[in-house]
């Protein structure tokens, strides 16, 4: 008993020592769950085709990623954070305060947000305003804000189907939800600015109804797809890549006359699309082995190009001239400045 106790203690100590105090060999990446599939796909290619170890990619959400990233410079902070939105001014300031200093912003492509429904339904055509009226908590009726009275789509617009409104969407922690707020809610609320200004900052109203018509479906988009397959009148909100992968079960609604397709998302015609980013800590370039090579591989034509690998995973590529600019920024390690956030 005594002997085993001693051996155990020794082994525990050895384990502790082995775990600590070693320089980091791997690239560490954190951030958005939307960018995660693309980032880990590049990480895998990087590990399989070079001599460097495969980077560790964590899916922490955009906000969580920026928080970890801005903790400072050094082995125990991430080298890259993925983000499904631009870095906020407050986040940049946190970076400056903690001495992170030079950061390069890299745009990798677009992600459309699909408003999808069962493939057997008739085509659904919605305007941003229709969508807003279907999900907002307070809606303008006759120049006044009232609690959302719409129960059926046809209540909003007689041209829409005569079925109950049931929307499965992302939870508040999701980057997709942030994008939905910005691209649908804020945009639509702007038209009724004088009504929303008193209750929301800058009239950017984003409260979503909680009477059961909008169902918070959790982070798992596969679950929403399964719901849409079973409940034909339901509508789901999620990233474009899930629509593409499940084309046999669901279809995308036409928004403002544009259906979600790579071409319309890339050109910006499809209104609910956003850019995806990652941010590189320049102080780690040349210190963490392979960091520069990873970023170069990511922005290469074989990854983010028109016929690149990430397109097959569901990323919508940037136009060619923007790709060239991204590569130039990366080559120069162009740093963000406070002026970029004005």
């Amino acid at each position: 008993m005594k002997k085993t106790g001693k051996t155990m203690a020794v082994m525990a100590c050895v384990g502790l020592v082995a775990g600590l105090g070693q320089a980091r060999e791997q690239i560490r990446i954190v951030g958005s769950s939307t960018v995660y599939p693309f980032s880990s796909a590049v990480a895998e290619e990087f590990g399989a085709t070079t001599e460097f170890p495969t980077p560790v990619v964590e899916s922490t959400g955009s906000g969580g990623g920026h928080k970890l990233f801005s903790q400072g410079v050094g082995d125990n902070t991430p080298d890259i954070t993925n983000s499904s939105r631009k870095m906020k001014k407050s986040e940049f300031e946190a970076n400056v305060k903690n001495g992170v200093g030079s950061i390069t912003e890299v745009v990798i492509g677009y992600d459309g947000i699909a408003i999808a429904h069962n493939v057997d339904n008739d085509e659904l055509t919605l305007s941003i305003d229709d969508l807003f009226r279907a999900v907002a908590a307070l809606v303008p009726v006759d120049g006044e804000l009232v609690a959302n009275p719409y129960e059926k789509w046809s209540d909003i617009n007689p041209a829409l189907p005569d079925t109950a409104i049931l929307i499965y969407g992302p939870p508040t922690t999701s980057g997709t939800r942030d994008a939905f707020h910005e691209l649908v809610m804020h945009k639509a609320a702007k038209k009724y600015k004088e009504l929303y200004e008193p209750i929301a900052k800058k009239g950017e109203y984003q409260a979503i109804r909680d009477d059961g018509a909008y169902v918070d479906a959790g982070e798992n988009d596969n679950l929403i797809v399964q719901k849409l397959e079973k409940e034909s009148h339901a509508i789901g909100i999620f990233g474009y890549s899930f629509l593409e992968e499940n084309g046999d079960r669901i279809q995308g609604a036409v928004i403002e006359g544009v259906s979600p397709e790579p071409a319309t998302i890339s050109s910006g015609e499809y209104p609910i699309s956003r850019s995806l980013y990652f941010y590189v800590k320049n102080a780690h370039l040349g210190v963490i082995p392979g960091l520069k090579e990873y970023v170069d591989l990511f922005v290469s034509e074989q990854m983010i190009g028109d016929r690149g690998y990430l397109k097959r995973v569901g990323l919508v590529p940037l136009p060619a001239d923007q790709r060239a600019e991204v590569r130039k920024n990366v080559a120069e390690a162009k740093a963000l400045t406070a002026a970029d956030f004005e």
Partner: protein
Amino acid sequence: MSREHARSGILRSRKDEEMKLLGKRHRHERRFRAYSITALLLACTFLVLFFGDMIHKGYKSMRQTFLRVEISYNEESKASPLYAVDDDLSYLVSRGRLRTIPREIKQNPRLLNTTNTEWAVASADVDQYVKGAANRLRPREKKLIDRMKEEGNVQLRFNRGFFTNGDSKLPEIAGIKAAAVGTLYVIFVTILVSFPIGVLSAVYLEEFAPDNWLTRTIEVNINNLAAIPSILFGLLGLAIFINFMGMPRSSALVGGLTLSLMTLPVIIISTRVALKAVPDSIRQGALALGASKVQAVFQQVLPQCIPGVLTGTIIGMARAMGETAPLIIVGMIAYIPEPPTTLGSAATVLPAQIFTWSSASLRAFSERTAAAILVLLAILLVLNAAAIVMRNKFEKRW
């Protein structure tokens, strides 16, 4: 006469009443039994449905499609590996196979300008098509696969890669090895830390500690800890092990320590219960023969309660093995395709692997998710069975 008549009437009515009561009790009993059986049946149905669904979805992933193709090693395929096979096949053979060609040539330059016919892993879409599931192949590609099938160049084989590969974004070569090894490392740390500390705390509290308000407070708190949501242990682990002690994030060490915090109360409680069950006569006998308190406890009492201690430990380990929530917080839900080499290197665990696969957009991942769930369930089943066997084998009746 009339009096007697009345009496027999009363008797009869009392008897009727008794019969009625008896009938009521019997009915009550039958009803209760029916409820119990229904509950049991319901539980069984859920279990069968769950397992049926998992097996139905998961068994397909045990087979993987292979294509017989000619791979040419030349300057062209060295620069762009998709050209190593026939143009039509570039996207039908797994990218995971083709992308290593430049490295192969680099490591073995003699390969250059040779061709080699081999069975290569097919892409996930081809695999899905061959298995009759939804896929994104174009009609022309389907025809090509059909033709290759007739020529005997398509084969479904046992999917060994599922057990020997790490995670991948390509479902056809994704496997559970890295996660399984990670789980081993994490559980190793958990046992190493929580078993000795847990057993010794329990022995002290049960055998040596004086009964005062301090020990009673500790006791209440330990019972309380066993019921705390596991995510809180993750936050504790993040604050203490990563932020304060500076241990590497996502490592098996941090994960194991965090889970051992969670397992400790389970081990302490089950050890104390086992110690309580040892009759005092054993202790008194030992003391009477001149043993010290420590000798009595470690040589007589503790060996008697090994089955209880082991059962508690194994159940605690099984719980730790299936835990995901606290590991999210310490960064173990990540893309980590290589098994860890030291306790400090990044690792992921089986439940985390299931979690990431279940939220992947590619359809082919759903069958792999089910298969990974089955593997995890099988391991847990073995552990729990071991706990029962050990309990029955070592159990002593007093």
